[in-house]
């Protein structure tokens, strides 16, 4: 199936007075319609930046310095601002981490929904209101018609996130970029929001790019997952395979570091050291200083994504000529 979104060797750089820092390096992946792709990584890995670059919200001094982003066959990273603005919301929706700041505290939910709907769709006021009500109902908010007149502070955290999702879906986008949508929510509410996202994705045939650091959310919600490290994708594949049999040493370490809810209690697997800062990414494979299985080639040559079981990993261990 033709991917709805295709990111090809995307590079993002930041120009500071210390020189140019590469925050994203040759990031490539695709999302098919109706698929949920998870982008997982720790802080500083570049996952939020990827989302921001795709949706055209990179803040200077950051800029796209290489690669292409193709949406529905059309290249969007070179679009002028006005065209990108129209694309945003209509074709690509986005939801961010903090539901508190995503909504304008001075306007009612109804006003914000109607404004968004009428910006992108040629509907009359009453049609827009009707659509707003149906959107709220779709996201599981009961008594939607009455709640349109309420302000954000009258909603709880989980409800607010549902409203944010409704806003993102207002114009019927085909791609949704969700950046840490459940991180600020409590566990019980998290489960509800994840279930909602999955259901919406199924019902509308939407593609979702879910950015998070929480592996549990990935396991629940995603079909495929890409693991990011130091601005590059180190492993990408079906979620089951990446979680149960990770191929890249970093992914292996990551899985082992997560405390489990079952089985005997053992010492958590520890990856010594820390993710390198932007200006200190080593030559060759970015992970090699912390990798227990690094060998000579890892230090000098940077690996591309190569087949490793059912997924692909950027690791020389999976190359034909690797030492066993």
């Amino acid at each position: 199936m033709q991917p709805l979104l295709e990111v090809d060797r995307l590079c993002v750089e930041f120009t500071t007075r210390h020189g140019s820092l590469r925050a994203l390096s040759e990031v490539s992946f695709g999302i098919a319609p109706g698929e949920v792709l998870g982008i997982v990584g720790e802080s500083g890995a570049g996952k939020s930046l990827t989302g921001a670059a795709i949706i055209g919200l990179l803040q200077p001094p950051g800029r796209i310095s290489g690669g292409r982003i193709v949406y529905d066959g059309q290249r969007i990273d070179t679009l002028p601002d006005e065209a990108m603005r129209r694309l945003r919301g209509r074709q690509i929706g986005s939801i961010f981490q903090d539901p508190m700041t995503a909504l304008n505290p001075l306007l009612t939910i109804g006003q914000q929904l109607v404004e968004t709907i009428r910006t992108h769709l040629p509907l009359s006021e009453s049609e827009a209101v009707a659509r707003a009500v149906s959107l709220l109902e779709e996201t599981g908010i009961s008594g939607a018609a009455q709640r349109l007149a309420q302000y954000p502070h009258q909603f709880s955290g989980g409800m607010r996130q549902r409203v944010v999702i409704a806003l993102a879906l207002a114009a019927g986008p085909r791609l949704l970029i969700a950046d840490e949508p459940t991180t600020a929510l409590d566990v019980s509410v998290q489960a509800q929001v994840i279930a909602l996202l999955k259901q919406l994705c199924r019902d509308r045939g939407m593609a979702v790019m879910l950015v998070t650091h929480d592996m549990g959310v990935i396991a629940e919600a995603c079909d495929r997952v890409a693991v990011m490290y130091a601005g590059r994708i180190v492993e990408i594949g079906p979620v089951r395979d990446v979680i149960h049999s990770p191929a890249h040493p970093y992914a292996i370490g990551l899985m082992g570091a997560i405390p489990s809810m079952s089985g005997e209690r053992e010492r958590l697997l520890q990856i010594d050291g820390a993710m390198p800062r932007l200006g200190e990414i080593p030559q060759g494979c970015a992970f090699h200083p912390r990798c227990p299985q690094a060998w000579a080639r890892c230090r000098s040559e940077r690996p591309e994504l190569m087949p490793a079981g059912a997924s692909r990993a950027a690791c020389w261990l999976h190359d034909a000529g690797a030492p066993r």
Binding site: S188, V189, Q192, E220, A257, A274
Partner: protein, 336 residues
């Protein structure tokens, strides 16, 4: 449980803390509003044995952070008793003679970026308890001890001259731990120490904390909203809702046979990384509002087993089947 147990290091009995969140006096008089109170902690009781870890879990607003603050003297309890090794802590803190007591307990905070003074060097930060309690004097002695502490948490002596902003989140948390260990405390209150850290860094810090606990025989109160983490570190687990403990059990029992409906719901909500195919039952409804807590059991609006009694009568924490549970359904044997 051995019949003859040593007395616990930390004992908390009917601890309560109520905050007055009423509108200002003038507004209340004009609008005829009643004063409003939040029972952040409402009759909490538990005991921690020496060398053990009690994990307190719950969602936001359940009062677990307030319990932590009450235990270290950052807040004064409205009522109830807190004892460290038999000493009444509330009295000690109030009387201002708490010096020796404060040396024996310490706290580790959640935010690694705000828990270190950005203008102080690491050496000064770590040495502060030593200086404050007069445990060591002389630059050489302090320097040596700081180097010792930094080594114990996996940092190097050369880090002592640096400033906090030169370190990552995980390293800052290690510095916090080094500071906490400076006065050789017996009891450590850890308020979500790894919640702000990445998973791999969390693993490092948790492993470190367990190592230190074993080496020094420390007692921990570990607060977290992450059940998997609590399962990993705690010996005993307490589940809190709206200021009350609804279940208190040892780790194995709580996670394999949870008694309280809320605990079951909580465990059920956790995303299943192992993807065992378990069907999750997301709970309906929202978190209760601490300003308007439900009458009776605080969980009854969301509980599938609630009956009339639950709506009216608040259940007490009782020993049922080897664990402590506050639930009418459990008491009446109605739970499957």
């Amino acid at each position: 449980m051995t019949p003859l147990m040593a007395s616990p290091l930390v004992e908390v009995r009917e601890l309560s803390k109520t905050f007055d969140v009423s509108a200002p006096w003038l507004a209340r008089v004009i609008e005829r509003r009643a004063p409003q109170f939040v029972h952040a902690v409402d009759g909490v009781s538990f005991a921690i044995q020496r060398g053990q870890t009690l994990g307190l879990v719950g969602e936001s607003g359940c009062g677990k952070s307030t319990v932590a603050r009450l235990l270290v003297g950052l807040q004064t309890p409205t009522s109830g008793e807190v004892r460290l090794d038999g000493i009444d802590m509330t009295q000690a803190f109030a009387s201002g003679q708490a010096g020796t007591l404060r040396r024996r307990l310490q706290m580790i905070f959640q935010d690694p970026y705000a828990s270190l003074n950005p203008r102080w060097t690491v050496a000064d930060i770590v040495a502060e308890p030593l200086v404050e309690h007069g445990l060591l004097s002389g630059r050489a002695a302090l320097r040596e001890r700081v180097a010792e502490l930094l080594a114990a948490v996996g940092l190097s002596a050369s880090d002592a001259a640096k400033l906090p902003h030169q370190f990552s989140g995980g390293q800052r948390q290690r510095i916090s731990i080094a500071r906490a260990l400076a006065s050789n405390p017996e009891f450590l209150v850890c308020d979500e120490p790894t919640s702000a850290l990445d998973v791999s860094v969390q693993a490092q810090v948790l492993n470190l904390m367990q190592e230190i606990q074993q080496r020094h025989g420390l007692t921990y109160l570990f607060i977290s909203h992450n059940l998997a983490v609590v399962r990993h570190v705690a010996d005993q687990v307490g589940v809190m809702v709206l200021g009350r403990i609804v279940e208190l059990a040892d780790r194995r029992t709580l996670f394999s046979r949870p008694a309280h409906p809320y605990t079951r719901m909580l465990l059920d909500s956790i995303p299943d990384v192992a993807m065992s195919g378990r069907v999750r039952q997301p709970v309906q409804g929202d978190l209760p509002n601490p300003l308007q807590p439900p009458i009776g059991c605080s969980f009854h609006p969301r509980c599938p087993h609630a009956n009339e009694r639950c709506r009216v009568e608040r259940p007490a924490l009782q020993a049922i089947g080897g664990v402590q549970v506050a639930c009418h359904a459990a008491e009446e044997g109605r739970l499957p």
